[in-house]
Amino acid sequence: MTEATLYGLCSAALVGVGLFGLIMHPQPLRKILAFNLIGGGVFLLFGAVARRGAAAGLGGDPVPQALVITGLVVAFAATALAVALLLRLFQETGRATLGSDG
């Protein structure tokens, strides 16, 4: 098993765990954390892809690495927005859930 395959498998596991959490957990905060787990998995996959696609003599393909940085920023902004909304919801109602169907 090469290094890239190991990373690929890890990222698949992270995405799987995250998807499970996002779909199964009713609490928004856990859903936000699960979203970040999936994000971690996807970014790790970017890394594995970069390693696998590197030309001979190079450490890695630079394009996925550039994409990861942008992706991290976007995921960070998304998490910040979600947490801000959740906090505001908690301030307004005193609860941090989305009701019965959330």
């Binding site: 996002l22 996925p64 995921a75």
Partner: protein, 503 residues
């Protein structure tokens, strides 16, 4: 691949930069200026998108621009084909209409700066910029960023008034959207890993029918369906769209849900023209059919006008996804699948105008009455005849009655269904039309009834706002008079593959 930027490519940059600059400037200068800046950017942006449309129409070729003169696969390309140009003009017209409508609702009053007006105008421009970025993006990762920007601009629009239930609706919307975008990104990585590029034009030449491509397209499609609120991933839509202020609902229902649909179309027909499986397309069509039936029936049972309109959006989105089983079919001819495809796009455009007009009409009615309970609408037809007329015109297009854009769109879908020998979709389309007729009639009958006691309006509604609503509803109707030739526009610049005769 075509490797040079076309003349007029700078228009594509302007289409994104203008609203972004407006939004940033509004943020820097503060609330009093936000509205003025928006009213400078709106005509300019409309002019830019019309210029793009004219240029695409006259040259019969897609407009292209390469950022920093770096060509794909390293660089990022912007590309406007006929479809992008049509969607951009639709977005520009709607944004201008919504801006005119929102002027009285979100003007900055003298005194301490208020948040809602400032935020509304900034978000309006931000939604516009990200929509344009989605429509002209030619790089799957760039499109991911554009989609996320669209989400970040759309979610706060839901909770502009800061009530607890709209906050919950916004949070639910955001969670669905995040689920969608991360799946989309996952698919994009898989494609990059397999084919070494994210550029749509390059990918369409490299993608082969193999497991990794199927995985990528299914993951991306599933993510986009969550954002487009296709049944059964529609749960977030009704509370979000019904809870937002009327101009915001019009943007969300008319434009924002069309962006992920647009990307699904790009993926299925432009990125992987040789790939789509007939069976997978049938699944999309079945979900669309269930959306039509379920959305319409639930809409019939609503007691509040805005919720009724929101559920009708769920149903109308279903029609958009009927194009997949009809156009992605090895047995149908190229021409008939083009008819279906064009019908689907026309449905997206006419629904955008009709639904925006209906949401704004509902907003005016709610403002005048202080509530939007359907049971209490009696007499409003006499008090606000122009608004109710606009609501009816929008309804005409939703039902698919002639003359309206919705009629032409649904007629094209019906033609496609018959030509493809898949009559069951035709039954769904007609049933959906009947059900839509039911819920529109339910509302109109109430509004036209005589009130038992004289109606006391809470506030008078200015003629200007009512005119804007009628104008948008008329756009939806006028689309029915567009002769078929301009519809060829939609085919300009699309990859030269017979979309029906794939595989």
């Amino acid at each position: 691949m075509p490797s040079s930027a076309t003349a007029g490519g700078f228009l594509l940059v302007l289409a994104i930069v203008l609203p972004v600059a407006g939004a940033l400037l509004s943020l820097a200068l503060g609330g009093r200026y936000a509205e003025r800046i928006a009213f400078i950017v709106m005509p300019a942006g409309l002019a830019v998108s019309i210029a793009i449309l004219v240029s695409v129409w006259r040259t019969h070729n897609a407009l292209q621009y390469f950022v920093g003169n770096w060509y794909p696969p390293l660089g990022v390309a912007f590309r406007a084909d006929g479809l992008s140009a049509a969607m951009m003009v639709t977005a520009a017209l709607l944004i201008c209409g919504i801006g005119l409508f929102a002027r009285e609702q979100f003007f900055a009053q003298p005194g301490p700066e208020q948040r809602a007006p400032l935020v509304f105008w900034i978000l309006l421009l931000a939604v516009w910029a990200s929509l344009n970025a989605v429509f002209i993006g030619s790089d799957l990762f760039n499109l991911y960023v554009a989609l996320e920007l669209l989400t970040f601009a759309a979610v706060p629009l839901v909770s502009l008034d800061g009530r607890a239930e709209t906050l919950a609706a916004a949070l639910r919307y955001l969670l669905f959207a995040l689920f969608g975008s991360i799946l989309y990104l996952l698919g994009a990585v898989l494609l990059y890993g397999a084919y070494g590029t994210l550029d749509i034009t390059l990918l369409s030449g490299r993608v082969r029918a193999e497991p990794i491509a199927w995985t990528a397209i299914s993951v991306m499609t599933a993510g986009l369906l969550a954002k487009a609120a296709l049944y059964p991933l529609h749960l977030w839509l009704p509370p979000a769209h019904a809870g937002a202020p009327a101009p915001a609902s019009a943007i969300l229902s008319g434009l924002v849900v069309k962006a992920p649909f647009f990307l699904v179309v790009r993926l299925w027909f432009d990125v992987m023209p040789r790939l789509p499986e007939h069976a997978a397309a049938q699944v999309l069509g079945t979900l669309g059919a269930m959306a039509i039936i379920f959305g319409s029936i639930v809409a019939l049972r609503q007691e509040r006008l805005k919720l009724l309109i929101a559920y009708s959006t769920v149903a109308q989105i279903g029609y958009l996804f009927l194009i997949f089983p009809l156009a992605v079919n090895p047995e149908t001819s190229h021409s008939s699948s083009t008819v279906t495809w064009t019908g689907g796009i026309l449905q997206a455009v006419s629904h955008a105008f009709a639904k925006a007009a209906m949401f704004m009409a509902a907003g005016l009615i709610a403002e005048a009455l202080g509530h939007d309970r359907i049971a209490g609408l009696a007499g409003i037809g006499r008090a606000l005849p122009i608004t109710v007329f606009a609501f009816g015109l929008g309804g005409l297009s939703l039902m698919g009655l002639p003359p309206s854009g919705g009629f032409v769109a649904k007629a094209m879908l019906l033609t496609g269904a018959v030509a493809a020998g898949q009559w069951w979709w035709a039954v769904i389309i007609l049933t959906g039309g009947l059900l839509a007729g039911g819920y529109i009639f339910l509302v109109l009958a109430r509004t036209l009834a005589d009130a038992s006691e004289p109606l006391a309006l809470l506030s008078s509604i200015s003629l200007g706002r009512q005119t804007v609503v009628v104008a948008l509803a008329l756009c939806a109707v006028l689309l029915g008079f567009v002769p078929l030739r301009p519809l060829e526009l939609l085919q300009i610049g699309r990859p030269d593959v017979a979309i029906g005769a794939v595989r």
